[in-house]
């Protein structure tokens, strides 16, 4: 117990906790003092530009790299790659298969490497292959599959051993919308069953749609941490869209300014010290016929660009050894 005392208090439903993780390479700080918690059963987004340190972070969580300092707690206990590796399913961004090996054998082999028994693995593979309509693939070779097909196979292999923690790095790249939806539904289903999912991507619209909680890293540091809704609130610019029939003209320019107008909608920024009701009041006073009145929250994409722009993080990728 003594050992655990030095770690910060964990709430019951925290599955994974990263505490002051550091990983330095010769010339750079790939991960520089990053801490965050991931809740059991949540879908968590790990975001960041190229070279931000995401891959290094994921490789530490999967036990591929050891952190230089800091702690990783899984289920409240220090992460031990020798044992805990079987609780994790990792689909790396750089993923592939043995081209000449039969698909069934390959899935079986990779499942056994995760510690499953042969019989158990066979049963699970059959279940997933049936679910994804891949039954006829068993004796095919990977080289005969299209990119999207092998992506589906990758996903099956990642979740086959029913890991507590599923890490998906760019899981939708190369998938058509149909298959992307199939995988997305599976992600929801797995989270509902209690699996925790870490989802790493550049595609902000997917994050917005899928993730409960996100962390944004840049240049090895955490720069944003929170639920998607909270972050949007945090970065909102008091922008409102007003839908009218005849357009909007505002008299009090110290309180409101029109940002732009498009297709019957006028975007109005409310300056500090004023509230949306002030705007509404003015519109009513002016007898403007309001059809719609909405607050416009920034997209994650906008927030991402705003925070990361100008840091030239991309230049760090490939230099970090």
């Amino acid at each position: 117990m003594e050992l655990y005392l030095k770690y910060k208090f964990l709430t019951m439903d925290t599955l994974l906790s990263l505490q002051n993780l550091k990983k330095y390479y010769a010339t750079q700080k790939a991960v520089d003092d990053i801490s965050f918690d991931i809740k059991q059963g949540s879908i968590f987004g790990l975001l960041g530009p190229n070279g931000a340190g995401k891959t290094t972070l994921l490789r530490m969580i999967t036990g591929i790299f050891y952190p230089d300092s800091g702690a990783i707690l899984l289920d409240g206990a220090p992460f031990n790659p020798m044992v805990d590796i079987e609780k994790i399913g990792y689909m790396p961004e750089e993923r592939g298969m043995y081209k000449k090996m039969k698909i069934g054998e390959q899935a079986l082999y990779l499942a056994q490497l995760k510690g499953m028994s042969k019989a158990d693995a066979t049963e699970k593979i059959k279940y997933w292959f049936k679910k994804f309509e891949m039954e006829s693939w068993w004796n095919k070779k990977v080289e005969d599959l299209s990119k999207g097909m092998s992506q589906k196979l990758q996903f099956v292999i990642t979740v086959l051993h029913e890991p507590k923690l599923i890490i998906l790095d760019e899981p939708f790249s190369g998938l058509d919308p149909l298959n992307a939806n199939l995988i997305k539904d599976e992600i929801y289903a797995l989270a509902k069953k209690g699996s925790t999912i870490i989802f790493s991507t550049h595609r902000m619209e997917q994050v917005e749609e899928i993730c409960d909680h996100i962390v944004l890293v840049n240049l090895g540091k955490k720069i944003l941490d929170g639920t998607v809704a909270d972050i949007k609130q945090q970065f909102k610019e008091n922008l409102f869209s007003i839908e009218t029939e005849a357009g909007v003209s505002l008299s009090d320019s110290s309180a409101f300014s029109i940002v732009r107008t498009e297709a019957g909608k006028t975007f109005v920024k409310i300056n500090e010290g004023f509230r949306s009701n002030d705007l509404l009041q003015q519109l009513i006073t002016q007898n403007t016929q309001v059809i719609g009145f909405n607050e416009v929250l920034p997209s994650l994409n906008d927030i991402f660009i705003k925070l990361v722009e100008g840091t030239h993080a991309g230049a760090r990728a490939f230099q970090n050894i």
Binding site: R59, Y90, R95, K114, Q154, I321
Partner: protein
């Protein structure tokens, strides 16, 4: 360990089930035996015929120059070095008048230059004719001379090693042959299986499966699984080759005429003594018996034991290095070439030393090369063939083995450190300097 075993199984079965492996395994011995059979066949039948005109003012040489199936000697008149070709001869041999007090050369002129063996045999014949002539002139009778010749044909040098009370027949030619063959075999297999390990690692890296697997097993387990799996493929191949070669040779022996087989058996029973009616045993039976007898002088259990040890040890030593190189290569296989150079150089160098050591197993360079793990698998095999403890003492063998074990543990450790960084690194050109840095940086 359980996972390493899974990896070994995959590496092994995916290669052994491969058609290329089966074809190579079964075709190679057939090719080797066929090649030996073909060369033997052509050396008997496919020789060039020489029609030699001999100008000999001495009478006594004529009797010694007997016709063979290769050479036809004629003693025509009116033939000289200007016109022998027009008269249908391939060569002309001009022997001067013999004078026992002065050295004179005999001359051979040819349409096409004559092979060394043939020249040698002609000159031996002439010299022995001159020797006989001189002996006869000194008063030794023809029948005595004949018996001397006969006796010398059936005698040969038999070398024995004396170690304490035991004495054992030794055969330097055989030792050289075994030493060379096993050294060459180890040299080739280091290249073949080392390259196989390298390609396997490169495949995993370029296929992008490396990271998927490394999230389940440690990089070291993956590397060792591959090295051991492919090593087992190599051992399987050796085993199949030995079985095939033994069965092919015994099958070939079955084609011998039954009387020769009978004679060989008789010779074996009489321990090689051709007693009484000695000329009953034909020349071929004696040859076959001699081969069998010579082969039996080697200490086969020791040689095979050492071969297996040095094959495995040398393989582990070099395969680890090849794996390290494979892990650093990106998409471009050309990179592998330059990175392989520091591994192939010591291999080639060791092979050169081996060829020297097969002739002289006890020079200082032979000693040191058989201790250093880079060259010991090849060089020590060449020395061991000369016998333990007669050529190589027990402590030398033990020390060499110890060094090799230490060597492969070191290269495996070193390569493991290079491998775990290299296998996950894409898009960066790696040099030996960088690999060195990976190997010795802190964990």
């Amino acid at each position: 360990m359980n996972k390493t075993w899974l990896i070994i199984q995959r590496e092994y079965s995916s290669r052994v089930k491969n058609k290329r492996f089966l074809i190579l395994t079964f075709l190679t011995p057939i090719l080797i035996v066929g090649l030996i059979a073909a060369t033997t066949y052509f050396s008997i039948t496919g020789v060039e015929h020489r029609n030699i005109a001999v100008i000999d003012p001495n009478d006594f040489i004529k009797n010694s120059l007997k016709n063979t199936n290769q050479i036809n000697f004629s003693f025509p008149n009116n033939v000289d070095s200007n016109n022998y070709q027009q008269k249908g001869f391939t060569d002309i041999l001009i022997i001067p008048k013999f004078d026992k007090n002065t050295k004179t050369d005999y001359i051979l002129r040819s349409k096409k230059s004559m092979g060394l063996m043939l020249q040698e045999s002609i000159s031996t014949k002439i010299n022995s004719a001159i020797e006989d002539q001189m002996l006869q002139e000194a008063g030794i009778q023809q029948n005595i001379l004949d018996s001397i010749h006969k006796a010398s044909q059936f005698s040969e040098l038999k070398a024995y090693e004396d170690k304490g009370s035991s004495s054992k027949e030794s055969n330097a030619g055989l030792a050289m042959g075994i030493g060379y063959a096993s050294g060459l075999l180890i040299y080739m297999t280091m290249f073949i299986y080392g390259a196989m390990v390298m390609r396997g690692v490169m495949e995993e890296k370029t296929n992008r499966i490396a990271e998927v697997i490394i999230s389940s097993v440690k990089p070291f387990e993956l590397m060792m699984g591959k090295i051991i799996g492919i090593g087992a493929v190599g051992l399987t191949q050796f085993l199949l080759w030995i079985i095939l070669i033994i069965s092919l040779t015994s099958a070939a022996a079955g084609f011998l005429p039954s009387d020769i087989q009978q004679q060989v058996t008789t010779l074996q029973q009489s321990n090689g003594q051709v007693a009484g009616g000695m000329m009953q045993a034909s020349e071929s039976a004696v040859k076959i018996y001699n081969i069998q007898h010579t082969m039996a002088t080697a200490n086969w259990p020791l040689i095979i034991g050492c071969f297996i040890f040095y094959f495995i040890g040398g393989y582990l030593f070099y395969a680890a290095l090849f794996a390290a190189v494979g892990s650093t290569v990106n998409e471009d296989p050309q990179d592998a070439q330059s990175l392989m150079f520091p591994i192939t150089m010591p291999l080639i160098f060791s092979y050169v030393i081996t060829t020297m050591v097969t002739q002289n197993p006890n020079t200082p360079i032979a000693f040191w090369a058989s201790m250093i793990p880079f060259s010991s698998p090849m060089v020590m095999m060449a020395r061991v063939a000369y016998g333990v403890p007669s050529a190589v003492s027990y402590w030398e063998l033990a020390l060499s083995m110890l060094c090799l074990v230490g060597g492969f543990i070191f290269t495996t450790w070193l390569s493991g450190r290079i491998y775990r960084t290299g296998i996950l690194l894409y898009g960066k050109k790696v040099t030996w300097k960088i690999m060195f840095k990976w190997a010795f940086k802190k964990a």
